[in-house]
Symmetry: C2
Subunit: 189 residues, 2 copies
């Protein structure tokens, strides 16, 4: 049931609408959890029923009205309780790894194409996370910000996301290089 806690954690800093949440949990942006819009709208409804968040209607001209949600004291207590539980170990579950596991049994060109795509995607996220981190720390150095900044949670999770995408990119490049070299060697034989 971490989705509900992820939503609570996302609402700690600011009031957000369901729609704004979907942006934060989007694949392209998410640095600590990913979820579909439909999950988020449903979860917000449940969270409000359970009294862990409260919503208030904001009437807008030119745009549809929206409901902004914030975490209640009960919600904060729930998060505190969740944090005390042992975290489940996380694991990689990745299409691309399945494909690479089958290397030597599937077409090498195709595999290299997949690795190249992923590498580019990872690079895009590296750039994005770099910008995000810069925005959060402003003109302070990272050390300085982490020592004295008032809100470091999102910064720390973003650092993890950055390292993860670095790992992705470097591994994709390495694997593609290995496959290319073997292919070359084979052709020359």
């Amino acid at each position: 049931m971490a989705l509900r806690h992820a939503v609570l954690a996302a609402l700690l800093d600011e009031e957000l609408s369901g729609y704004q949440l979907t942006k934060a949990f989007d694949l392209g942006v998410a640095n600590f959890w990913h979820a579909q819009p439909q999950q988020l709208y449903a979860e917000l409804t449940r969270l409000e029923q359970d009294g862990l968040v409260t919503g208030r209607e904001v009437v807008q001209d030119n745009r549809p009205n929206k409901r902004l949600f914030r975490v209640t004291d009960a919600g904060l207590a729930e998060l505190e309780h969740f944090t005390a539980l042992a975290a489940k170990p996380s694991f990689i579950r990745d299409d691309l790894l399945v494909k690479v596991q089958a290397a030597d049994h599937v077409d090498t060109e195709t595999l290299i194409a997949r690795l190249t795509e992923r590498s580019a995607f990872a690079q895009a996220k590296i750039d994005l996370f770099g910008r995000l981190l810069h925005t959060m720390r402003g003109d302070r150095t990272e050390e300085e910000f982490l020592r004295h900044g008032e809100r470091i949670g999102p910064y720390l999770t973003c650092l993890r996301g950055l390292a993860f995408e670095h790992g992705n990119r470097d591994w994709c490049e390495r694997a593609a290089a290995v496959l290319r070299e073997r292919q070359g060697a084979h052709v020359r034989n």
Copy 2:
């Protein structure tokens, strides 16, 4: 539907029983996919019905009989087809990141405890993956093995697993150190 392809990829190297597969897909060992035993037994049944694997009964003394499965030509074709599809981007979905996102709103001691646990878990996997890699390459160097080894898929995925756990450990240590220092600074004020 990557689970079925993960199972096919796992069966490429050797005939395995459902039980042996559950060991390979176990959290403690898995380096390219994770799944519950119940998923694997169900998937094997479906794969056999679809003709992508074949099972043969092995009668054992002292132990219950088992069924060993291997990939058919149709299964190999299915894997080839799967590899040609664009891989879905993978994302982190991790309890611990949710907890860290909420840092500054939840108890720091508790959070440090979670980070320390995860770090130890990651270290255990680092050790395990190191041993696994050594077993696969034998007395060859990594470069040598990746250039000329006959089966490099599992080696490459294991390298990814290793890098992932390195990332986990280093980040946990970093985050815990940051939180400890801030806590110290706060206490001294």
